[in-house]
Symmetry: C2
Subunit: 225 residues, 2 copies
DNA sequence: AAGAAAACATGACAATTATCATATTAAAAT
DNA sequence: ATTTTAATATGATAATTGTCATGTTTTCTT
């Protein structure tokens, strides 16, 4: 029983519906990679012929807009899959994936898994549930982007990162992002993100230890309007 | 062979993978409705126990934000399904559906179609493809909302409506929206939407016949930065 | 350890967008 | 047909956010 089998089950929780045989076969043809921080894993427009299973590290999924800014749409962490949509659609990727720190991934060729998707209805129904959930999340992001201020969006981004990816033993956010990354998550200028974070600090909502951010008053952040 | 069978095949183009037997059965248990303009078909938080198949008319899918504004996330027209996600997820709807004009719909109970989704792998794979496509579109909207100006977003909304839903014989957009609806699509104040549309008119990019809008210079709209 | 480069920070100002006030016009109701 | 209501329009102003300049700190390189 390969290590990939366990890894894959945890994340893409749809994969729990695969049979043992299916998992073993997939596990056998995986390839492991180490990806260095800052590396572009795949680019916008690139055709993916498989999925990456993230064993360790974090990456961002972003899309370049015409004004040259890179909008971060989603972050993928240890225990999740990268490039799921390539399994289902023949279109090229609409997003770029970039490692935010050193990563360990394993690659599963599309050819290995697509037959399961088409033959195992329970499996594909589970994947469907996953996508429906992603779609719902995307709706929420659209509304936030359209209706909320930079201050609100940044507060929510901090809360989201805190709740979804957790904190280090010292209470700082476990994911270390540059100010530019924060700007690209909330869709604002880097200077604006810096200013708002400074403001949060002055107000005692967050504190910083070097580049690390610690949320001091999560209720206060939630109260921002 | 019921009329619904044809209707359903056209739109949710995933339904093409259903067998004839499956379609006939579904067709038999459908219920037809007439929905008047302005009617709320379902609300945010409501649990849907089926899908609506739009035979005629248009509706908007929107989500109320905390500031009281209603962000339009998607528009559903004749030949499309409404509430697909309820088939797949047990979560309640995150969106509200409101008829933009008088509509003809038929309702298919979830119980009738869910078994097919779980037993017919080709069918559910096709649905999966559809959702992957929707997700890609949602990414694009997020980037637009985050990175583009109101002027750009409104120009793109006009082009989108023009290209996706077509025009009347006199060249006006076939979908008639209020200025407030336009504001809620691009995520801005009603006054701002009105101002930008007036500006477009002054610049000769669009013209108006009453409330109807006609695109006069689509290349000009696309050139807006 | 010193220098170069990148990231962070902040001020000054411009551009964009929201809000409030108030007309004007169009649509609906009686 | 006339009143009432809702939608459209526009000005004035405030608030938010972006851009450019510049300085400081941190990180990386050699």
């Amino acid at each position: 029983m390969g290590k990939c089998e366990q890894c894959i089950i945890k994340q893409f929780n749809s994969l729990k519906s695969l049979t043992k045989d299916e998992l073993v076969r997939i596990s056998n043809c995986k390839t492991s990679y180490t990806i260095k921080k800052g590396t572009v894993i795949f680019e916008e427009g690139e055709t993916l012929n498989g999925v990456y299973c993230v064993k360790d590290g974090i990456c961002k999924l972003s899309k370049l807009s015409e004004n040259g800014k890179d909008q971060i749409v989603k972050m993928v962490v240890k225990g999740q899959l990268l490039g799921q949509r390539s399994l289902v659609s023949d279109e090229s990727s609409n997003l770029q994936a970039t490692a935010l720190n050193d990563m360990e991934v394993c690659f599963i060729p599309k050819s290995e898994i697509i037959a399961d998707l088409q033959k195992n209805p329970k499996f594909s129904f589970d994947v469907l549930k996953d996508m429906a959930h992603d779609l719902r999340e995307a709706d929420d992001i659209i509304v936030n982007m359209a209706q909320k201020s930079v201050r609100q969006r940044l507060a929510e981004a901090l809360i989201y990162i805190h709740d979804s990816f957790g904190v280090n033993p010292d209470g700082t956010l476990s994911i270390l992002l540059s100010r530019e990354d924060f700007a690209n998550i909330v869709g604002t200028a880097t200077e604006s993100a810096i200013r708002v974070l400074s403001q949060f600090k002055k107000e005692g909502l967050i504190s910083t230890i070097g580049k690390q951010i610690k949320i001091e008053d999560i209720k206060g952040l939630k109260r921002i309007e």
